[in-house]
Symmetry: C2
Subunit: 549 residues, 2 copies
């Protein structure tokens, strides 16, 4: 049987474009002689649809899309992902389903049994898990069709009490097909390969796996769909961060013949290469899917805004990036020079707006209240917030989206000004630790010096008071980031982190800073997720809670 | 058997204060001759603990608290709620449990079977549901102990496929006890009474029900614990929005004798009375549990900020409220006068800071960029954002928390400035429609005119340009709020709302406004939840999603 895998970039709730893309792919596949085209999990509506799923009309629009797709499939079969009404009166209203479509109609429905409900996933919010399992017969081939998590109940860490393939295997299927919506994290590709390979080997079946590609606000899908032989070896690996349609012949002996050159990667990409590509896709899809073209950002001469500016220029085109230099009385000449050099290197647009007269006016009207009180964080934040007001005015006047330039280390310890440098439509580096920002800068400079070396080598500073340096109030970033990773990604308590050999005072101070900044992070822009644990929808902490604060 | 019900205000993660409060209550109850004290669901750690639950140390601290409590219970029994490790290697790491403690140790453990995972609830994120059911025998009484949602699988709308009491009833218990964490919404008290009464009647058992009281960031718990006889009649109803400890004798004939005067309400409180009390508790607990004392807010002379100021004065004391009047060139004299009158009526502190020199300075530095372009939303937002910078400077200098004054109607249609009037530590009215704000104002004025009548009767205006009125760009609020409620609370699509008789153009415009404001609401402060569907953790919408936009 000739099988096509369609790794596509959907848009949540955009039935018109998703359906057109699916039907267009079916037509292409038919022209290539494919007998079955496999689309990803919840492909008709995109993933995650979130509370759109609670609208009856949304489910009806999904079903209408499926009927349009079915009408196209008179002489070819396809598998699509779709939310469907739970026919059982008890339990949640919906199932997370796969339709097997052939002869112009839906011939089989498979419901997902294992519903991820951790980190960024909320599937129990909407779906009732399946408790029945049945293979699908098509043209003499018996298919064990499962949906994403259904293959992820590992032996080592059994998150669920059932394992769908243990049931399906009893019907002696010839092949496994898994449709997925498995979001990107820099360490996720290897885990995905290991788990899927383990399934192919354990059940001694070839496995076709189709993932989403593209970004939906904070969630980036990296593609990397996979084909395994029945010994668990990778037969093919689809591109990362790009759409692809590929073709395979499933031979009677269960071996797989590729209809195009294999794109299995000889070497894994480094974390930083993956993060770079993920962020480019994340920025691009955020703008394109919300109907915007142009970005603005505040360019300070420091490394964070330089990296965001370079990423934006790559994602949107330099001509669509407006860098705004906003020097204050505390900005150093070299910072302004570094920012100007970057603008020249990238060829993006720029404006320079000195903020001194604004901060002077703000301090003047506050003089009656602030009389006799020393300069402190109030005046520091006035600078940061004045810049935000100016950047947002540029957005409101010219239709830009403001890019947030805070990194994950800063966001973690609250080293940023709410309604100041924490503003933006989307946070580009909010899931990238400062030490990784340096690596990204070096990666951006791999062929030529785009980011001025000075921005990379000088000691980081917010420049909100004279001679300020980040290291005045924070530990060095390699120590800070290591502690943060233990706390945030590994959920190690301060006691546990101290046991790992870090200085007790430093650890307690850092963890305290993370906890008291929870109220700030609640109001940050959505953060492009590139790690296994990003701030945002995947990390839900109390604000007035006291533990560890 | 003499049973004490303890309806207490816990603080998430504050083991020291929660444990002290529980032990103190046990001592009081012992002095009154109680044999069993019942505390609420997850009482040792507070509710919701959210991702604190993912820290191993957090679970250990819960267990340590339970052991401290057990040590106190040598001659009295108690029921506490606690997260515990799931002993089964398969499934989620934790159970949502109740400990029955007697003779100084835990003598029985009950795990919750029905885990709410809708609206504001995420229990499947952490807990494995129980599939086994067993009554507890104590002093000759057989107790069917369940946890909150376990009694909420209604016949009419069966959200789950099991019903724990259908199993427990087989063991012929003498009484039901249900420990809960059931958050407030203005229509929730009647539903709660109906469902619990239905359980008592259906199983023909007396029922003791203990809820939380107090607020945890956005979630407010209203208490209202209940006792029913075995015919489903209310035997007692604990106070709303206040802590209470009450005592009952469960007689051998299953009848219940109260040890204090009954506080069953003759009449239900109106929605507005409940919202008023809920908001007072929400503000007070937000400040006290985060260790702050004083609030500030921008007072415009309009009704929203007037209502927030009055609520804050009641919740925190007028001496802890700093009202800041921030007139611009578009502010009318009567607005300033109305604001000043309110300050006088409340006796709170106030400052007046004219913003004209600040907006002039901002517009001056933007002149090169904005040259020749007409006044538009950019200049409007500059005013709103200048006010936010000044209010946040007051917070940073004096340690206030800024109260957000946006109402739910505005928040819904995006009629607010991000980083401007959408700022604040907590949103007081973000779940209160404009029409309800008027009702709250009248309720506040029930005995004397605290809020100037002019603030109530004048046409609402943001005063960001000359002669601006809300009704220039929005439908009248009674129409707007009715449409919003259909869309947000009832999840009716625009097509469905039009069918109800609303003007098609108006409906399409309103729904479009709601959808395109999703990116703004993502960055709003936490909103005190008073309705069955508030913006925030209970409503999770895509930002770049296209459906209905």
């Amino acid at each position: 049987m000739k099988i096509a895998l369609a790794q596509l970039n959907y848009h949540v709730g955009n039935f018109e474009s998703n359906t057109a893309k699916i039907i267009d792919t079916i037509k292409q596949a038919r022209a290539k002689g494919a007998e079955l085209v496999v689309f990803a999990e919840l492909s008709v509506c995109g993933y995650p649809s979130r509370d759109f799923l609670e609208f009856q009309e949304y489910i009806e629009l999904c079903e209408a899309a499926a009927q349009q797709i079915a009408a196209e499939c008179t002489d070819i079969a396809c598998i699509i992902g779709i939310p469907t009404e739970n026919k059982n009166p008890e339990g949640k209203d919906l199932n997370n389903s796969a339709y097997f479509i052939a002869n112009g109609k839906v011939t089989a429905v498979v419901n997902k049994a294992l519903l991820p409900n951790y980190d960024v996933f909320d599937e129990y919010r909407y779906f009732e898990p399946s408790t029945t399992f049945k293979c699908i017969d098509y043209k003499g081939i018996r298919i064990a069709l499962t949906i994403c998590e259904d293959l992820w109940n590992t032996i080592e860490n059994p998150l669920y009490i059932t394992r769908p393939m243990d049931e399906l295997i009893k019907e002696k299927p010839d092949v496994m097909i898994n449709i997925a919506a498995s979001p990107f994290a820099y360490d996720h590709d290897e885990e995905r390969i290991a788990i899927l390979s383990d399934n192919a080997r354990r059940y001694a079946l070839p496995l076709f796996y189709v993932n989403h590609v593209g970004a939906q606000t904070e969630l980036i899908f990296d593609g990397g769909s996979l084909v395994f032989d029945n010994e668990g070896n990778i037969a093919d690996e689809l591109p990362y961060f790009n759409e692809a349609i590929t073709y395979y012949d499933l031979q009677p002996d269960a071996s797989i013949k590729l209809n195009q050159p294999s794109t299995v990667r000889a070497n894994r990409q480094t974390d930083i290469e993956q993060i770079y590509e993920g962020l480019i896709l994340g920025i691009r899809d955020y703008f394109h899917k919300s109907g915007f073209k142009s970005a603005t950002l505040g360019l300070s001469g420091g490394i964070d805004s330089a990296v965001v500016c370079a990423l934006a220029a790559d994602a949107l085109g330099a001509e669509n990036v407006m860098a705004v230099l906003l020097p204050s009385k505390f900005s150093t000449d070299h910072s302004l020079k570094d920012a100007e050099d970057l603008v020249t290197n990238l060829g993006c647009k720029s404006e320079t707006i000195a903020i001194r007269s604004v901060t002077d006016a703000l301090e003047a009207v506050l003089q009656p209240q602030f009389e006799g009180l020393p300069f402190n964080i109030a005046e520091e934040n006035i600078q940061s917030r004045s810049r935000a007001v100016l950047l947002m005015a540029m957005c409101n006047k010219f239709g830009y989206i403001l890019l947030n330039t805070s990194n994950k280390s800063e966001a973690a310890v609250g080293y940023g000004t709410l309604y100041g440098d924490m503003c933006g439509g989307i946070s580009v580096l909010g899931d990238v630790y400062k030490t990784q920002v340096y690596q990204l800068a070096n990666y951006i400079n791999r062929d030529k010096a785009i980011i001025p070396i000075n921005s990379i080598v000088k000691p980081p500073s917010a420049e909100l008071r004279p001679d300020q340096k980040d290291s005045d109030s924070l530990p060095e970033y390699d120590i800070l980031d290591a502690i943060l990773k233990e706390y945030i990604e590994n959920k190690t308590s301060s006691k546990g982190i101290i046991k790992l050999g870090y200085d007790e005072q430093v650890v307690r101070r850092v963890i305290r800073l993370v906890n008291i900044a929870e109220h700030k992070r609640y109001q940050t822009p959505p953060i492009l997720r590139v790690s296994p644990k990003a701030f945002g929808m995947g990390r839900r902490m109390p604000i007035v809670g006291k533990y560890l604060s």
